[in-house]
Each structure stands twice: as C-alpha cells, then as structure tokens.
Symmetry: C2
Subunit: 332 residues, 2 copies
Amino acid sequence: MDERTTGSRAAELRLSERVIPVPVSVSPEARAALALERPAVGPLPRLDDKAAWNAHILRVNTARAAAMRDPIMALPVRSALNTIGGVPVYIAEPEMIPADSRDKALLYFHAGALVLLGGECVGLFARLEAASTRCKVYAVDFRNPPDHPYPAALEDCLAVYRALLEIYDPEQIVVSGASGGGNLAAAVPLNARDLGLPLPAAIGLFTPEIDLTESGDTFQTNRDIDVVLTRGLPELNALYADGHDLAHPYLSPLFGDFTKGFPPTFIQSGTRDIFLSNSVRMHRVLRRAGVEAELHVGEAMPHGGFGNAPEDRELRISFLHFLAKFAGWAKP
Amino acid sequence: MDERTTGSRAAELRLSERVIPVPVSVSPEARAALALERPAVGPLPRLDDKAAWNAHILRVNTARAAAMRDPIMALPVRSALNTIGGVPVYIAEPEMIPADSRDKALLYFHAGALVLLGGECVGLFARLEAASTRCKVYAVDFRNPPDHPYPAALEDCLAVYRALLEIYDPEQIVVSGASGGGNLAAAVPLNARDLGLPLPAAIGLFTPEIDLTESGDTFQTNRDIDVVLTRGLPELNALYADGHDLAHPYLSPLFGDFTKGFPPTFIQSGTRDIFLSNSVRMHRVLRRAGVEAELHVGEAMPHGGFGNAPEDRELRISFLHFLAKFAGWAKP
C-alpha cells in the first residue's frame, strides 16, 4: 500500500508535534491507570556520589512500600523473611494452593532497574506474586548498587537458586521476574547453564530489562509514550554495571546464546512499553534457538502493565496456562 | 519505576517534535527497506466518484505488478488462472513440494486494503506464497469496490472455500492473508462457521486489517512511524463497507465471537506496524476464547514487513513451524 505514503524521506524519521489520544480500546481501569499522575522527581545523583544514591534509593523504596503496603498485607498470604544460601529471601505462601501447584516453587526477582525497590518492597512483591500465581514464592532481596554493583545481584540470585535445588527438583522450580528482575530471571538460568547446573521448568519474563545497552527501536518509538518508564535507564544501568560490559549476556541476556538449551519462556510486554523491543527480540532469539517461547503483548499497555486492570489479570492467567502446560502447575 | 517520570499529565499525551533514528537492532537489509523512497501520491478520489476510483486502482495495480513481476516470474513455481466456484483463482504450485505438504492447500487472500492489488498482482502473490510455503496455493482474485463493495469479496472467498471443500478435507486446508487479505482470512472462517461449514486446519493472519473502525492504539502511536502505511485507511474502508456497519464481525473480525470454535491461528505484526494493535488484540481475543494462537512481532518492522530481509524470512519459517505443528505440513 505504498500509494498511501507521500514523497521521499531520509532513513531517520522526523515527526512533528502530536497528540496521542486516550486509547478507546482498553478497559476503563486501564484508561484510569494511563491518566494517573506520576510523582515528579529531581535529577538523579552523580554516578560516583554513593551517599546521594543511597539516600535516593531509600526515599524511593520507602515511598513505594508505603504506597503498596495496606492492600497487599490484606491478601490471604502468609509471608516471612528468611535467609537462603546466605541471602535474604521473602517467602510467601497463599492460604489456598491448588493441588498440582503444592510441590512447586516460584523463584522471583523483583523490579526496580536492578537498583531500586529492595527491602520491604520485596516482601510485598512476594505476597502479590503468591496471591496471583497461587504458589509458594521465594523473592530474593538481592544486593544493589551503589555499594554492591554487578555481579552482586546475579551472585545472590544464583546462590538462592542453588539452595532451592537442594530442596526441590529443578522441574519443580519456575523462575520469573519483572523489569530489572526480568534481567535476572534470564541471566540466572544462563549463568546456571554455563556452570552445569540443571535448569528450571520454565521462565517468566515480564516487560523485561534484558538489554542494558538499550539498542531496541522502542526505546525511541515509545519514548514519552510509555507513561510509566518514559525513557530508558542509562544512568541506573551504568550504576549497576560498574564498568562491566553492558552487552555481556549476564548483564544483557538478550545477547546470550540460547542454542545450548533454555527452559520454555513466557514473555510479556505492551504496545506502549519502552521494553517492547526487548520482549519481541527475546522471543525471536529464543524461537531461533528452538526454545519454546510465547509472546504476549497488552494493547496500549505501558511498562509494568496497568496495575490491576482486567488486562493485567488476563495476562497473569495466560502465564498460569503456560505454567500448566510446561511446568505441571495447576490450571487457572 | 514511577520515579523516572516527571510531573503530572493529562490523560492524552502531547509529544513534541522528535527524530526517530534508524534502528540499529535490525539487519542491513531491513534498514535499507526502511530507508526506501515511497512513491508520492495525490489525494484519493471522492467516495462517490467510481470512475476516478477505478482509474486510481488500475494505476496502482499496474505499477505494483510491473514492480514485482520479473523476480517473481523467475521463481521455480508453475501458476495458472482458473475459475473455482465461479470466481477467478490463481493456482500456484512450487516445483518441489515436501512429502508432508503434498496433499495440503493454502487458500490465500491478497493484500490491498480490500480494494487494491487485484488482477495480475494476485497471480504474483500466489507464486510468492507458493515459493515461501512450499505448498499448492489458491489465491482468490476477489471482486473489489467501487463496483463491488462488501460483501462481494467475502462472498467470492467463501465460494472458493466451499469449492475447495469438495476437493480437500477441511484439515488439509490452511487459510491465510496479509493486510486486507488478513481481514478475509479471519472473516471467511467466521462466516463459514456461522453457516455450519467445517473449519480449516489453521489460519495465518499477517499484519491483518481486522478492525476497519481503526480503534486500536497503534493507529495513533505508530502514525507516521510505520513507513509503509503511515496512517490508517478510513477512505478505503468506507469504500469497501458501502454503508455497512464497519464494526460488524464480517467487516471487522476482531469483534467476532471466537468462543464457538476457531482454528489455531498464527498472527504476525511488527513494532512499527500501524496494525500492531489489531494483531495483539486479536491474539488476546483468541486466547480468551481458548483458541490456540501464536503472536509473532518483528523488531522495528512496519506494515507488511521489510520485504525480503532475514527478519521476514525468519517469520515465514515460524509460520511453517506453526503449520507443521497444527496442520501436519512438512517441517521447514
């Protein structure tokens, strides 16, 4: 349908000012989420100012925990902070677990760009995941920069995975993560495989930050269209990498070699997600390597989803169908 | 990661001027395709000026056939124009068909927004599909507006499907289409099911035009980012619908009821595709109805793909894997 375009163009695109209307193709809850006011923040600290980073991180984590706490603590879930493999891990167990999922474990890596949302937030995420997956959840409170940059988080997550292998058969374990946690959910199995460890039954990558080089096209096309993560995270990526090569597969698992075996992988993103390119590229890389991989993309959905709109719930149910198919979990 | 966004916003987004660089995440062939000059066109005819529309359509079809003809005629494929069910159909058969695909048929509906690219183009598309799917292809030269608006195209395609059911078992037939042809590839099985006809083994929807109301978010977010189809096609949709309700499931199959049974469906789009929303929404609708559906999205890919880049070939191979799994076709 070339006949609809006009004139010649340079290879780069020059777009004029535009208004993107509220989408009519999503639920009222989703539209409300897109219209939420986001808290303003000042400029980020300088890369080498550790004290300022720690203050910034504490401020963000405290505010997020306070905003999430009450509804999540009311969920019918038991949770506690333990130490597993020498690492703090929040264990959350729903009051009701369907029979087929009772012997299963979800190893969960939290969002926060590999820097933020540690501590109490991890316990809250653990409870949320337990309620939504109806399974026992181990959520790792991995170390973070500036005091503990790469490879601290990866080492912590791998130590917990090793410890879980003492308790569970690998096929009883599913590994998942959101955003920065999606980075670790791909990097840990890659690292485990390279070390000769057995692989988990399945993996869930939710709007995953798996390319710290930010080479994907939607870092450009969805810039400022993604209302949750309006732009990339180069400063946080540099803080995490601490001079290591951003393109190394343990930092950017999108560039890993998956031809040597990788578990079935569920990948979720949204059409407005700045990490949409991460997600569709990972899907292609895995398919090319012969790995079972499913791509699920939410309409008009930004990074991290709408929150608790029907669209979010439906994608979570798709993940449970995936786990029923590939990891023997209870059907949703 | 709300802390990365600044200030409050209205529910609609106001974006300033921007430059979208050439993506670094795709092949050189894909980059070259994105940089291709597109022919300029004048304004479209008035909706009621049939003579002007017919002249416009002839001009477009002639130019496209001339541009495609030579390399496609050189493919190792036999093709001929026949009449099936009273409708002109181009039949194309590759010289080599793998054993498992020899008893199979691909019923193919061509691109062109349900208005354009009839005649010789259909024969060329048939040859291209035969070469890429390695199977016998029946490509329908359905009637088009302005002289034959809806439901002429749907009736023609359904007549050919009925006629093929006399030659083949339904499980030997796969139905697919691109763009406007993707509309028919979804509408024909919906219509067939409503008439009590058996359904084909599988369906392929390539960057499908399945929502003539253009309600999806990427009609806005990918406007002018999709270099192939820079904007929607409201005039052509009105010409096709001829006063019928654009939202009827036979005109916009995205709004169909798939809970009464529908074949496994392969859906392809790209992150720059203006029909990305069509594609991800169809995937969700089918999944919700319990239909086997796979979503495949090309990185930085516009409507219709790059042409013949490695990315296009890989997506075609994914379709063949899908047909091997769900329709018993030869593995690629």
